[in-house]
């Protein structure tokens, strides 16, 4: 019997955004868009008559979520009473006695995994499904991976591992994928914000809505069916916006308009008016060009654009006058030569602008 399931994680409901260039309004809007994504997941679970909804950690931002919002989540879950919702806690919403999760009246179809020191087995006899799950707390525990390796599974059942963990690096919760891949029919993992299939049955669903420029590509949730040794699933993209980073290498010979055009036509227009775009500017820019103006101008063509200024300024007439240090401007340029420090660069740019303006005006 194939069981329909949805696998999601890392929603970070109530998240505080640290993206420097996001306006306050945009941050609020983005927060709402995450809630919309959550609603979409609930709607899909209801419409598709999904039997299980796995939430592999970081459903909320523990520090910022409030009681009212959690009650709202509980109400949403109650609206899909035919779906069993299994939730584990992740790094952003670690479980503890001080977690508000503890004090919410979750509906009967919600199985909140509060176990942090041993793996909890949740068996659904009707579907012969056994879910092995463990939640994060906010304490260090290097023994956690071993708890996962020590899980003994009943081969006659469909076994699912629900976990917020890492597969690489050396954290308290890095597990070796090879040690779990054969034990479980499906490993519903959370903790990585991009969709990633480590193995056919070991899957990170990623965030339904990307949260920063490290989280590019498609985002959504996983929907599929599970039976013994045969999980079938696909990523259902629901993200309203994507984060995209585009590299533009500049040359000192580029004019204002050329740089602007390079930015404007760096991606497709539809993406420009919808997505969050970061332009990584590298190379050299003539000191004659006001990049501030270029960036301001470019904003007209994008829903959101920010720049990473990895370029350096260079004098268009880049001539070396050797000992001819007659003019203060030349002396000023010499003062900043070989300074890659961003502040120094900006100081150089400002000084140059002021000096030049002085020369031109007077």
């Amino acid at each position: 019997m194939k069981l329909k399931f949805i696998h999601t994680s890392d929603l970070h409901l109530g998240k505080k955004f640290n993206i420097k260039n996001f306006s306050l309004k945009e941050r609020e809007k983005r927060r709402q868009e995450i809630w919309d994504a959550f609603d979409e997941i609930i709607r899909t679970a209801r419409n598709e008559k999904t039997e299980y909804l796995f939430i592999a950690g970081d459903m909320t931002e523990g520090e910022y979520i409030n009681f009212k919002s959690l009650n709202k989540i509980a109400r949403k879950f109650k609206s899909i009473e035919d779906t069993n919702v299994v939730i584990v806690c992740g790094k952003s919403d670690p479980y503890s006695i001080n977690s508000l999760y503890e004090y919410i009246d979750w509906p009967d179809n919600v199985y909140f995994i509060k176990s942090i020191e041993s793996v909890e087995k949740l068996y659904f006899p009707k579907d012969n499904l056994c879910i092995h799950a463990l939640s994060w707390d906010n304490l260090k525990n290097s023994e956690r991976p071993q708890l996962i390796y020590d899980i003994s599974v009943d081969e006659n059942k469909i076994n699912v591992l629900l976990l917020n963990c890492e597969l690489e690096g050396e954290t308290d919760f890095t597990i070796n994928v090879d040690l779990v891949k054969n034990k479980f029919d499906y490993c519903a993992l959370g903790g990585k914000h991009n969709f990633h299939s480590a193995r056919n049955n070991v899957v990170y669903c990623g965030t339904p809505e990307p949260l920063n420029f490290d989280e590019m590509d498609e985002h959504g949730f996983i929907m599929g069916t599970i039976e013994k040794r045969n999980p079938e699933y696909k990523l259902v993209p629901i993200a309203k916006r994507r984060f995209t980073t585009r590299d533009i290498n500049l040359d000192v010979s580029y004019s204002f308009n050329k740089i602007l055009d390079l930015i404007k036509f760096s991606g497709d227009t539809f993406s420009n008016i919808k997505d969050y775009v970061k332009i990584n500017l590298t190379g050299t820019v003539s000191t004659d060009i006001s990049m501030e103006e270029v960036e301001n101008e470019a904003k007209q063509f994008f829903y959101y654009i920010e720049f990473e200024e990895n370029y350096s300024y260079k004098n268009a007439e880049d001539k070396n006058y050797d000992s001819n240090d007659y003019n203060i401007i030349e002396s000023f340029k010499l003062q900043f030569e070989n300074h890659q420090d961003k502040m120094e660069q900006q100081a150089f740019k400002l000084g140059l602008e002021v000096l030049r303006k002085e020369k031109v005006v007077k």
Binding site: E28, N66, F332, Q335, F336, A347, E358
Partner: protein, 897 residues
Amino acid sequence: MYINKLHLRAFGKFSSKRMYFGSKFNIIYGENEAGKSTIHNFIEAILYGFGEDENGISKYNKYKPWDNSLYKGTLGMSMRNGEKYVVSKDFLLGTIQVFKKESSDRSDPEMVEEDIPSPGDFFFNMNRTSFRNTVSVRQLGNKTEQELANELKNKIINLSSTRDQNISIERIFSTLNSIKEEAGSEDNGKTLLGQYSLRLSELKDARENSVNAGRQVMFLAMEKRKLKNKISELDMRMAELKKHLSDHELSIAKEKFLKAEPVKMELDEIDKKLLEFNHSLNYSKEDFKEALSLEKILENMVGQRDTLVQEKEKIDSRLAELGRDISNFMDNSFSIEKLNEDYSNYKLTIEKITDMKSKIHMGYESIKSIDLDGINKFAEYYDSVAEINRKIGIANVFLDEKDYEAMKKFGKSQGIQSFFAVIFGIAFLGAGAYSCYFGYTTNVLEYYYGAGAVVPAVILLVSSSRKSARAKSAKKEIESMECSHTDYKLTVDQLENQKNEIVKNSGCDSLDVMSDLYKKKCTEKNIVEEKLNLLKFDEDELKQTEEENAALSRTLHETLKIFAIDEISQENIKEINEAYARKNQVREEASTLKISLEQNTQSLAKVEKELSFEQRRLEMILSANGIADLENFKETAAKYEQYEELVKRKEYLDNILASIIGKEDFSALKEKTKNVMFYETKAIDEQKCQLDIFRMNEEKSRIAENIDNIHKEIEDIESGTRNLAEIEEEMDFYEDKINTFKNKIKIAEMAAEKITKIADSIKGDFMPLLKKSISDNFYYLTGGKYSEVSFDENMNITVVEEDNKSRNIELESLSGGTLDQIYLSLRVGLSNILSGNQDIPLIFDDSFVQYDTRRLKKSIEMLARESERRQVILFTCQEREAETAKQLNVKFNYIKL
């Protein structure tokens, strides 16, 4: 060094234009638009390439020859050491070639190409800007001495701190300071930074509040948890109590069950029986009652109907009787008086007829003895005799001779006339023929007139023919008359014989006797005929009376026919009169009877309808109960009584069962107690238990209320507190702003620091150099009148006279010419510093156009003096420079464009 030649191969308006300069003073004269600026720009373009004009537009296109495919030229440069350079530039290709000739020996043609990409830098050791600021001197404005002094002062100050006469260090610092001022400081609430800082501090407070609110919510949530635990505890305790109660209830229930079981069994038995009944007694008791009552009603109704039918029959027969009464046939047109009158007349006519008949009979009896036939026969004979007499008379008429004679005469006369006519005719004819013959033979025309005798001849011949015919017919007539005469005679004889025979047959001897008898008989006949006429009159009257009687009889019959009476009799008339007398009475009775009949009919119809309805109702009741007829129904009802008894018993038992188990269902009770094997109905304080449960429930409600309050409180707290994420985001936002502005300040400070450092360095290194260079050149240019140009710490600039070194003269106090000398000293000094004390040329482009003669003279003197040290090229559009130079005996190379 000096520029020795220019070759404008193709540049601007010039094509293959060559110019040679002297190493000292060169005056190039050309009127406006003669190409002075073109040559000046050619020099700059060769040395530094094309710069931009005042509008920032490259001069490349400005000097591109429009009528030449080339765009190139060369510049020759001679060094004091004898080296010569030729700089060749192709402006189209952007290529530059510099050839060097080491020896000054003209015979040595060997030129070496040097790799010199920027000849200006190479020769003058300065960039374009410096070139423009020192070597190349454009038009000098006709400024007042005060203005010139100020300009000079600014230039020197600027140069002293920035090495650029146009860049003011003060203004730069002012600009950078304005950036800092715009940002302000965190301490100053009126500045941006101050405001941001203030907002940040507010946000920090809000964050603190939000965090505290979070803690409060957590505390409340924990409280709620505790309360929920209490509820769970209460639930457990209540469950325990309920278990006790439940066990107790079960024991009681078991007891009840055991008591109730036999009753239930009997009830089941009854139910079975009832079920059997139910199969056959599938009828309604109410229906049965209804049917019985209907039966009675129907009986009554049938009796009622029969009475009404009888009544109706009576009325019908009476009505028929009345309908048959002859008075009914009397319509409005009927008149009894007329009937009676007709009948009386009828009777009178009958009497009259009888009378007349007897009278006629008596009349006929009186003439019965007269033989009218004999008389008539005699009369006939007499008439025949008379007739024969008449015929004899006629025949006698025909036998008259007169006509016969006349006819004979006529025949004879006609024969004679015809004969003479023929004779005369022939004579006339012969006369005519002879005349014609004579005429013919004589050929005299007049003889032919004799032919006219033919006409009377013809007339006479025709008349002769006619008369001949008449004579013939008269002859025939006479013959016929002779025959008739014979016949008539015969007839008269026969008639006479007949007459005599008749007279004889009549018994008379003669005609006279016969005539007398005839007269006698005629008188007798007349009497009889008179009597007959009277009788006929009577008969006519009788006939009329009979007709009258018949008419009356018809009228009476017609009237009587209305009453279906055939006979006209006194009785019948009497009867009609009687009927007439009772006519109204009969009608009134009939009308009354009809009303009664109508009422009766209506009642009957109503009764019939009701009867039919009730019958149908009964049928329906019966069919609804599946019973064929009422008898069956009665049988069923009898069974039903038994059934009712059972039902009563059942009700009784049900009551008993209810009194044992109450409203509880027996099966449920049985099910509930089936596992209760042992029970003891030990008394527990049920009331106390219930009270405890009630109290616990109350407690639970109170706790639930508290939980609700906690929820509300949490809601209030959260709705009254800003979202922590929002606060922190706003804090980040303002922190970023503050940092940005701080960075801006820092950047401005860094820039200012660097610029200060450079300015200080310039002041330290360059200013003394500049001062000395200006002083030296000024001393030279003024012919030793002024020993130096002095700057103090506050950048006050003065000049010192050679003769009076203790006196510092302010620039404002100097004459224009002296200021020009200082200005030139400044430029030359700068060029010396920049070029490393090379004697680089000075180029003046219409620099003194606005000068008056005195000042020009001074300037030319100054340039002449300077040209002793370096090449001076003066472009001018006026001839007065050359003239002044001539007046001053200054040697110069003069080129006229």
